[in-house]
Amino acid sequence: MPTSTLLNLVNILLAVNFIAGFFSNTVGDAFGSMFHSTQLIHLEKNILNLAVLVISLQSREWLSTHKHIHEFYVILLASLSGMFFMISAQNMFMFYLGLELSTIPLAALANFDLAKRKSGEAAMKFIISSAFSSGILLFGISLLYGALGTLSYEGIAATMSGQPLLILAFVMILAGFAFKMSAVPFHLWTADVYEGAPVAVTAYLSVVSKGAVIFVFFSVLYTAFEHIFISWYNFLFLISVLTMITGNLFALRQNNIKRFLAFSSIAQVGFILIGITGNSAEGAAATIFFILIYLFSNLGAFGVISLVSAKTGKENISDYKGFHKTNPLLAWILALSLFSLAGIPPTAGFFGKFFLLMSGAAQNNTALIVIAALNMIVSLYYYLKVVKAMFMDSNEMAIPKVNTGFQAGLAFAICMAGLLITGLFGGCYEYIFSIIHL
């Protein structure tokens, strides 16, 4: 089958998969209690499906010259299914299994720029750090199992207490999660992996992978560890503040646009954690809502970068000088995506950040809100720096006109529509809120 037909077919199938996701709303358990489904879980899976569809559309340019398309999709979808199992898990065992299914194949995927040195390094860093984080996570889980005798979330919630050993186990699990979410101080792998991996994989890592882990993270926190809220609030508060500050400070000094987005995504995770500290239905809704928006904004940005990188191989921020002159449309798409990441209305990012702050503020922690607000300004600075490069700086060697194919155009249309609609029309948030039953 010729490459282009194959890619078209795959994209159509992914679209069908995404649409079909809306019609499957069976609720209940399967395989004992190994697989659990609720409306919320369906929604989360649909969000991930959408993200994969968009990534697939965007990476067409890169894939059409790649020799291993079949394998790419097999691995990508295996990883996606791993996330589905992870989200649907009701116990630590299935969660771990899903997590590994979603990360181990991804490491191979990170190495898919076979000719590039950095790609291999990225893959290695990714697999070692993810194995290490799984190790910590597992040690925590094993202690929890030893102390409580159960692996299911319900069982843990029923018997969890503030015993020091249990807190230690919890901290280890938290550290494992922090690794996967690339929260400080476990973020060191992120930038290298994001820079080295092919853009499509980076987009997948930063949106789908991270999104899935965060979905699981807050549901585990809110169910299994609900009763030790007082203990985890402070940990989470600390992590979120550190993550925001570190992500922002490092993003300030990046030249490579993929590294830049890596650190900005670290800062975004810090923001998401603020919402999670709310420990309420509002917190959960705000988190899911934000991830949906983050999907649109980040994939909008990665889409442009992916196109430019595939066509010209340029990945530095300084290469984007004068981008608006040669590619006005793409420049506006990138700018809007960055504005949304910075949380500026009328883009949806504004609403997302606002709701995260509101749910975080429900714990009456003024310091947290002030720090978050200050961080928003810092983050605005570096997003505006990129916008400035594109719109205001002149450049003799500006990136030449890049053609957007139909499929990439479709992906951009989805992202931009999402950016503008999800926030302004309140129904989206309300729907998410209505299906959360904590």
Partner: protein, 172 residues
Amino acid sequence: MSAYEIIFYLLAAFILGNGILAMTTTKIFRAAIFLLFTLIGVAGLYFWMQIEFVAAVQIIVYVGGIVVLIIFSIFLTQQSGLEMPKATLQRKIFSGIAAICGAGLTGLLISQYGFTNNPDAVLDDSVQNIGTQMLDYEDVGFALPFEVISILLLAAMIGAIVIAMKSKVEES
């Protein structure tokens, strides 16, 4: 002290000693061999606990599979006799302190928690029981995980093959 206890402490010393050596020796091939001994020691520990199935799996997969794979890759990628680059002393000290503190804290908390053995614990770990549960899709069954891990192995295998395959461009 009964023979049973003595065997445990010997096993523990064997595991930890080889483990430390595997992590500190400067020659990579030796490290692999020490790792091999550590893993055999762990298998011995399972035998000591009378969990024969896991012990067998440990030997087959770890000792027979992973370590062989590691040794194989050492042969493929570097001269095994050479010394590896050393970490700086500062880093060693820092890591050592971190590890010792972590181990101390965890050990302290474990001993404080006071785990007590369940006196009438009888674990039915016959291969038959394991097999039945592995393919059971009812409440205590592991049929779904079994399927999931088969996808995992398949995907990992495909990924590994694509990466490790020699592409023609590189030959030229």
